[in-house]
Amino acid sequence: MSASSKASATSTTTPAATPAPPSRLLRSRASRWIATILIVAVLLIFFSVGNDDWFTIVNYTLIAAIAALALNVLSGYTGQISLGIAFFMAIGAYTAAFFGGAMPSSPLDPLGLALPFIIWLPAAGIVAALAGALIGPSALRLKGFYLGIVSLSLIFIGQYLFLNVRGITGGPQGRTFPVPALGGATFDQQNSYFGLALTSGQQYFLLNVIVLALAAFFVYNVMRSRAGRAFQAVRDNETGAKIMGVNLFEAKMGAFILSSFLAGIAGALYASYSRYVAPDYWDLTLSIQFVAAIIIGGVASVWGSILGAAFVFGLPLVIDHFNWLPVASGAGGISSADLNAILYGLLIVVFLLFEPGGVIGLVRRSQALTRRFSARKDEGGESAEITDLPADQA
């Protein structure tokens, strides 16, 4: 094609041949392998030497990371404003309770089918996904803030339902939730596997790490393939996406279903780990905390979801652990939950003002800066710059 020779000859419009900045966090295969090995090593070390309290903190953080990932799929990658993630988590939790909870021994007990773990956990995801499929079509008609408030209404409608459908939720007093079990070994006590004795915390830890890893890997793959690009196109410009052939209905429904599935799993894991949850736990504050998590960690980023969850959910637990602040609210002083709320409120504002890509955005920006410093001075072109809501992969 004659265009190519003409194009590369015009130096005013074409940057010189620089190695293109890759869109992945870690450039070379080597650095990626090193990072993976490091992470596995850290996990292994923690697994061996962590004490019960720290397992609690880490387990809750891992579960929160799954839900943050779910929210990122819907809002970060696909741009659908949603304040309703707590609702889908609740659906997952109560589905798990229904399928896996103990059979009622009296008419006052909540319902349960006592089915095994291998059934109730996926069921939680599936039922939540079905709920997402029901809500999904509303995203086709409603845009922006309208969608946001409808998703907010899910929280309140959910609260009403959970308070009144006592058979499943236990009403205002709440209920207990089933414990994961392999064969006869239930995770709430110490068990031996292949001669290795594992504490309850360790068992939950393995479960959560595996689920999170699977979920993260799945989402990461989706986002670097055709469906993920369609999601991001929907986020950036719906009409343009349509012109390029993206079926908006399929894309939005897909995003809702995937997101709700993961949220349901996270909800079931949380409820099961906490053993007891009252319906007022699944409130607007919880949803907002997850939104804060993805903004702080990094919108449209798998690692961002994990980092954000660690900050918004893990940090207060750490503060509580060290008793740096009183736990309860409103004793005239400031509690850890209050400080955390003010902190993530502030960070939302600060990040959105200056680094909408969250912490991951900061990391990429500093990578671009160091690349700029090491590049030769007469190279043209600009380094990769993140503007709003980056579309890059993890």
Partner: protein
């Protein structure tokens, strides 16, 4: 000279093949404004067809009808022998109609390669499940299509920015990436919406060469909306002139340039009387 004025579809030039696109008496109206009134024309396969007119003449509205973003209140559009108006917006791409965007910056954080792959959306098959599992079919699909897009980028001279986000590129390169993205669809019909807007002479020549290559080497039918008269008159096979949503002239560049109604529309009444010919197109852009 077959026709130099408004064609209402009755007096047609004798075509050698059936037209790829046939627009008949299309009218578009919104909020009381008639954006297009009784517009009719045909585009032959492989043709480079240009649509010109003063600002607000309805050129983008025309594209929006063909891309099925607008629904006309009257008229019909036939594409490849089928009724185009029965299609929904997202089905247009699947039928081989690609379009570039007039305003850029719609997808600032997408890399050039991802953008082209997005252009291949209808040529790929992986859904969420296959994508999530990745290693079973999607990986091969991604590799194949990435290679194709890289090839396209090389043709158009953008291969060394393939991993740059669109928003970080200079304006001219973004426009070029947009054309590449439209080509990635492997279209039968390519709608180019002001591809050289805001470009200097050198860049315009580059794009003109690209457009001609698309015509001659790929055989893709193109409809070009542009303001740059030298470009249009230099490379188009036939030209349609719109003014206030109406067709005021249709024909070869030479015919259109001599048309007094066209001159009146652009330069005003006083020049309309004399059939002043505009400067003849330079020959170097002709193959």
């Amino acid at each position: 000279m077959s026709e130099s004025n408004v064609s209402n579809g009755v007096n047609r030039p004798e075509p050698t093949r059936a037209p790829l696109l046939s627009v008949a008496d299309v009218s578009v109206r919104f909020e009381g404004v008639k954006a297009l009134s009784d517009v009719s024309f045909q585009v032959q396969p492989g043709e480079l067809f240009a649509v010109i007119g003063p600002n607000g003449a309805g050129k983008t509205s025309l594209f929006n009808v063909i891309s099925r973003v607008y629904q006309p209140v009257a008229g019909s559009v036939t594409y490849d022998g089928r009724d185009l108006l029965r299609l929904k917006t997202y089905q247009v791409a699947r039928n081989g109609i690609a379009r570039t965007f007039q305003s850029l910056g719609q997808f600032p954080t997408m890399t050039v390669m991802d953008y082209l792959l997005l252009g291949r959306h209808t040529r790929m098959r992986s859904g969420i499940i296959r994508g999530g599992l990745y290693f079973f079919q999607t990986r091969a699909e991604e590799k194949r299509n990435r290679a194709y897009c890289l090839h396209l980028l090389e043709l158009i001279g953008l291969q060394h920015v393939s991993n740059y986000p669109l928003g970080s590129l200079p304006y001219g390169l973004q426009k070029r990436a947009d054309i590449a993205r439209a080509l990635a669809l492997e279209p039968k019909l390519l709608l180019l919406d002001e591809p050289v807007a805001g470009m200097g002479l050198e860049e315009t020549e580059d794009i003109a060469a690209v457009i001609l290559d698309i015509k001659e080497q790929l055989g893709v039918t193109q409809i070009l909306v542009e303001h740059d008269m030298a470009l249009v008159m230099g490379i188009a096979d036939r030209v349609l002139v719109l003014d206030f949503g109406r067709v005021i002239a249709q024909g070869t560049p030479a015919e259109v340039q001599a048309n007094p109604d066209v001159i009146k529309a652009y330069l005003g009444e006083e020049f309309g009387g004399a059939a002043t010919a505009m400067s003849a197109p330079t020959e170097e852009h002709r193959s």
